[in-house]
Chain length 253, copies 2
Amino acid sequence: MTDSTLHGCIPLPVSLRPSCSSCAVRDACLPAAAGARERTLLDGLIAYRRRVAREEVLFRQGEAFAMIYAVRFGHIKSSRPDHRGHPHVTAFHMAGDLIGLDAIHSGRHACTAVALEDSEVCEIPYSRLQDAMHESLALMQRFQHALSYEIGREQSVLLQTNMNGTERLASLLLNLSARYAELGYSGSRFQLRMSRADMGDYLGLTIETISRLLGRFRDEGWIKLDKRDIELLDRGHLQSLLASAAGRPLVDQ
Amino acid sequence: MTDSTLHGCIPLPVSLRPSCSSCAVRDACLPAAAGARERTLLDGLIAYRRRVAREEVLFRQGEAFAMIYAVRFGHIKSSRPDHRGHPHVTAFHMAGDLIGLDAIHSGRHACTAVALEDSEVCEIPYSRLQDAMHESLALMQRFQHALSYEIGREQSVLLQTNMNGTERLASLLLNLSARYAELGYSGSRFQLRMSRADMGDYLGLTIETISRLLGRFRDEGWIKLDKRDIELLDRGHLQSLLASAAGRPLVDQ
DNA sequence: CGGGTTTTTGAACGCACTCAAGTGAAGTGG
DNA sequence: CCACTTCACTTGAGTGCGTTCAAAAACCCG
């Protein structure tokens, strides 16, 4: 290992610098729907990609914020301790996801980000991103959309407060499924990259409950399960667990 | 009532147009810490203030997004239906708060906003705000901070997933208290502007549980309670309900 | 293999829910 | 002014889901 990769950073000669334009996940990432000008601006921003080994910490809660990270491949979880010091997983990130948006406000990371498997992220210096957004209104819009999207995503997660365990787990599985499908992978067969404990810390359930629920889902024939390999056999039924009365307009709220 | 106020909008002659510079809550709102130039930009943005009567809908889920709203006075709740069609309150907004940030991404409101009491908001046209942010890097930063802050706020609410009812209620009371204090009001004596049902829909508890918990808080001497008037008698104890092990660094997460 | 971790399974408990009834204050109409 | 309605809240009793505590099983990696 050379000095330059000591911290997982991969500096490259200019000709080989990371390029959004040629990135495999560009359509699911910040450059999505961007014009040529915005691509060029972004290409100029990203000097480094960083490898994060399984279990390795990308950044820690409380550290100074300087970079937005964009996942190139792999999976990363964000978590922050709850009132008892027990970790609460706030998100599972995959290819194209932006990490660190919650840190802009305070200048310090509110979460700790850990790789669930060997992964790679792009480092986007926020100060330089700001300059680029000042140049390009379109890029500013794109980024603010991403921020707003994250607000909406967390609101959806908040809705789980009123769900029971069965519904929460179905919600997680369908969410993962939809995101894999969007990335072009199979939405019906995939690997759970996180442990049962991580799922529990995300859903607000204990590891035992997760295990029991997965077992029940298997027994009922809704999923096929082999360790962390999962296949959604009856997506319709999983959706019906969540669908009850949602979607139809409310008389009052 | 004239035509121009039919929908609660108050158009004003230019000389009397709403002005952030002279607004009572400017330091808790978008113009906070802004320079003279940003104030001027903002002043040019806001053409209307809007009165929202108690129970009146400011905007409804699904409606096209055009405005960010800033609360001038009063209280507004945001809610969206959960998977069973039951409303889930995502936020209680008060003076200085920005409403509608979750709608930027999709161009449609994800929540329905209803006034809890007679209130007034500023209408900030998002398209014109974008122009202004293009002009002023400082304003762009300020707005993105607000977006990021909202992400962080929702993450904190997410932590309630692991709390029991007692802790959730203590958390809400202390949160309201802190926000009132920040606005210069009393943090120890205030009115609950929302019904028990709203509190329950926010905390993910039933109305009966809220009632029982408030009763217990009163019996234990932690609060004084008379209908919706509340006084925090033992803030220390309320905080200790949440403090258990939080704050100290984690060995692992 | 062997040691540690992750996952599964079992049994009993407790918190918040549901269902049900009752209280109290505010508003309405004769 | 008082009977009546309505709405918000309170209180009580019983139930169920997810928890805790405990232990076994399966898996992983040296």
